[in-house]
């Protein structure tokens, strides 16, 4: 039975307080000593006297082991208070050791891992358990650890646990890296596998295409009518297409090429360079015997075949049967030669003929004129000097002589001009027809004194031709117009033109006596006249000259006449370069 407590005095209380403080300080000191491993045992005064307590696990070497090992170690009470923790564990938690010891374990456990811890501790009562969970360091860092729990059987502390925490951070990182690597490897492997598959697929595709190509080529080669053959380096035929087999016979395969060049040693020499690898491409024509025995001319194109290293592996040749073509060529050549021979002969004949014509013209020029001059001259002299001795009739007769010589002179001139035309060289150039016509008219008008002649030049499409020849055309047409308008009091002559399809059409129109359209087709013939010489002089050469010249230019002529008179003479000239430009109309009125 405890003694009845007596009231203590203040002094006594103060003294007890001081005593308690001292003992507390001592206990703290002891605890500190124990914590810092300064003491191994405790002498604790108890009821039966002093007792020595040896601190379990106080063995120094074990302490060093625990302190220095790379795992965290801690001792927990059943309630989860950390009685002891090693330095490593404190490091894991990034917390000073003093703060760790005495703290509750669950404060260092991540929320997700609380339950794991609880189950760990529960199970840990019976057996050794290990679980992975996450600690929370003081700065919030999550530390993955492997926690191993075992029940500590300390008489004084039942249900306390010993825990070992293995930091899995690096471990996890390593695993993560390994996994990443594994994934990468797997990915690479997958890619390679896909690539390989793709390659294989491509190969299959390529093979299929090759097959198609090959069979198409095969068909083409067979379909080509030309002969295609292949020889190897031993000059033996190794392949021939259908046409080749047809020509040489099926037994050509395996035969030597020289076998087929019988009597064609010349050709064989030509072909040698390609066989010997000196040439890459060769063309040669050679006569070869077809399998039916007939000799045919083949045109060979040979091409050398080389392997990747550039060594000659054989020759691929293509040949065409040109027998008929060659024969045709020869025939043509022969015909051409004959033709040229004939042309040369004809040309020589023409040249001779031309020369003769020239001599003729020249002769006419000189020799016909001289006597004519004499006739005219002497008859005039008679007229002049013997006038008194002549009567009217005599004079008239002499006039007739003079008149006729005049005519003949004119005829000679016209004939010469006409024949001259065909020999003349033409020089084609742009021609100003209006100016030409004006000049010609001016000359002609001067010969017709005392007449009113009105000459109008209308718009003229640009002309292209020989200037001197076109002058002759205008000369003849205008002379005619002037001549046949003589009966008119007022002669009206017009020159005009217009552009047609690919040609320009010009015309000379007059208000003269015109002509009978019934005989229009004779107008342009040589020496044809539609009027008597009594009415109008002339020898019918003028229009023939006009026609010849216009035809020479590639144009045509025709004429029209009105019932009551008037005539229009048309001529065309092909529209040359510079067509379209028209000359301005000009009027010439001549008294």
């Amino acid at each position: 039975m405890p003694r009845k407590p007596t009231l203590k005095t203040l002094k006594q209380l103060l003294g007890e307080n001081a005593d308690l403080r001292a003992r507390l300080a001592e206990a703290k000191e002891t605890l500190r000593a124990i914590r810092s491993s300064e003491v191994d045992a405790l002498v604790v005064p108890g009821e039966g006297g002093e007792q020595i307590f040896t601190l379990k696990g106080a063995d120094h070497s074990y302490r060093i082991l625990i302190e220095d090992m790379s795992e965290g170690a801690l001792i927990l009470t059943a309630e989860g208070v950390i009685l002891y923790a090693n330095r490593r564990f404190a490091e894991m938690l990034k917390t000073p050791l003093e703060k760790v010891i005495g703290s509750a374990i669950h404060t260092w456990i991540a929320p997700d891992s609380q339950r794991i811890l609880q189950s760990l501790l529960r199970k840990g009562l019976d057996e050794k358990r290990r679980e992975q969970l996450i600690l929370t360091a003081s700065d919030g860092t999550l530390v993955p650890v492997y926690l191993s729990v075992s029940n500590l059987l300390i008489n004084e502390m039942p249900d306390s646990f010993c825990l070992v925490a293995t930091d899995l951070t690096e471990h996890n990182e390593a695993i993560a890296a390994a996994e990443k690597l594994a994934r990468e490897v797997l990915a690479t492997t997958n890619q390679s596998r896909l690539a390989l598959l793709s390659v294989v697929e491509d190969q299959k595709q390529a093979e299929r295409e090759l097959q198609i190509l090959s069979s198409r080529n095969q068909t083409m080669l067979e379909a080509i009518p030309d002969i295609i053959m292949e020889v190897d380096t031993n000059k033996t035929y190794t392949w021939a297409n259908h046409a080749g087999i047809e020509f040489f016979g099926a037994d050509v395969i395996g035969k030597e090429a020289s076998h087929y060049f019988e009597g064609e040693q010349q050709t064989y020499q030509t072909v040698k360079p390609i066989f010997n690898g000196y040439e890459d491409i060769l063309y040669v024509e050679s006569w070869q015997r077809r399998r039916d025995g007939e000799k045919r001319l083949l045109a060979w194109w040979c091409r050398v075949l080389k392997d990747a290293a550039g060594n000659v592996t054989g020759i691929l040749s293509s040949a065409r049967d040109i027998t008929e073509i060659k024969l045709a060529e020869n025939e043509i050549r022969q015909l051409n030669e004959e033709l040229e021979q004939r042309v040369r002969q004809r040309t020589a004949q023409l040249e001779t003929s031309n020369k003769e014509l020239e001599a003729f013209s020249y002769s006419v020029s000189h020799d016909l004129r001289a006597p004519l001059r004499a006739i005219d001259g002497f008859s005039r002299i008679v007229l002049e000097e013997y006038a008194p001795k002549l009567d009217d009739e005599g004079r008239r007769l002499l006039d007739v002589i003079a008149g006729n010589t005049h005519k003949m002179g004119q005829l000679i001139d016209d004939l010469l001009a006409f024949s001259h035309l065909s020999r003349q060289q033409t020089a084609f150039a742009p021609v100003d027809l209006a100016a030409l016509a004006a000049a010609v008219f001016f000359e002609l008008k001067n010969l017709e004194k005392g007449r009113r002649i009105e000459f109008k030049i209308g718009a003229l499409p640009a002309a292209f031709g020989d200037c001197s020849l076109l002058r002759l055309v205008l000369q003849n047409l205008l002379a005619n117009a002037i001549k046949f308008t003589r009966p008119r009091t007022r002669a009206r002559i017009e020159l005009a033109g217009q552009a047609g399809k690919g040609e320009n059409i010009y015309h000379v129109k007059d208000n003269g006596v015109g002509f009978n359209m019934e005989y229009a087709h004779k107008l342009f013939d040589v020496f044809q006249r539609l009027h008597s010489s009594k009415e109008f002089e002339g020898n019918g050469v003028g229009l023939a000259i006009v026609q010849r010249i216009v035809l020479r230019h590639g144009g045509r002529v025709w004429a029209e006449s009105g019932k009551s008179g008037g005539a229009t003479f048309y001529f065309t000239l092909p529209a040359g370069s510079g067509s379209g430009a028209e000359a301005p109309p000009a009027e010439k009125v001549v008294e």
């Binding site: 013209s361 020249y362 020029s365 000189h366 020799d367 004129r369 001289a370 006597p371 004519l372 001059r373 004499a374 005219d376 001259g377 002497f378 008859s379 005039r380 002299i381 003079a402 010589t405 005049h406 002179g409 010469l416």
Partner: protein, 153 residues
């Protein structure tokens, strides 16, 4: 140097007419009569004679006339030596090169005209067929070349 105003009696042969056709000769002389030039005319009938006369050879040896004629009327178509050859010889010899030559011919052929000009002819005249015109032409030629034209000798 003789004065140009004087009648040149000493050498009346001022015109050399080279013409083979007698009718033409006669007509030409008649025409020249118009200006009283007939007594100054020397007629030869072919090319050879013309050259002999001009160079004092053949039939005219020893009769070298100086000064030379004032004008030569030359027909082209001549026997023996033709007009072109006479012209060529005249124009290539220093003794006769300066003598004016007028080709008086029937030919209108352009080739003749061109060729004679190339050889150095002074003038080319076509003999008109018409008598009246002929007379007119020849007399005018005579007037011009003998009376009007100046010569260097």
């Amino acid at each position: 140097m003789r004065g140009r105003n004087e009648m040149q009696q000493i050498n009346p042969m001022e015109i050399l007419l080279v013409e083979d056709n007698p009718a033409d000769v006669e007509l030409t002389l008649r025409a020249l009569k118009k200006h009283n030039l007939t007594n100054k005319v020397r007629v030869v009938n072919d090319g050879a004679q013309a050259l002999d006369y001009l160079f004092g050879t053949g039939a005219f040896t020893g009769q070298k006339n100086s000064p030379p004629p004032k004008i030569v009327f030359l027909d082209l178509k001549l026997p023996k030596v033709d007009g072109r050859e006479v012209l060529r010889r005249m124009k290539s010899d220093d003794r006769t090169r300066l003598i004016p030559v007028v080709v008086l011919t029937s030919s209108k052929e352009e080739s003749d005209i061109v060729e004679t000009y190339k050889l150095g002819v002074n003038s080319y005249v076509v003999k008109p067929l018409d008598f009246n015109k002929f007379v007119e032409t020849v007399s005018e030629l005579g007037l011009y070349w003998v009376l009007l034209n100046q010569v260097p000798f």
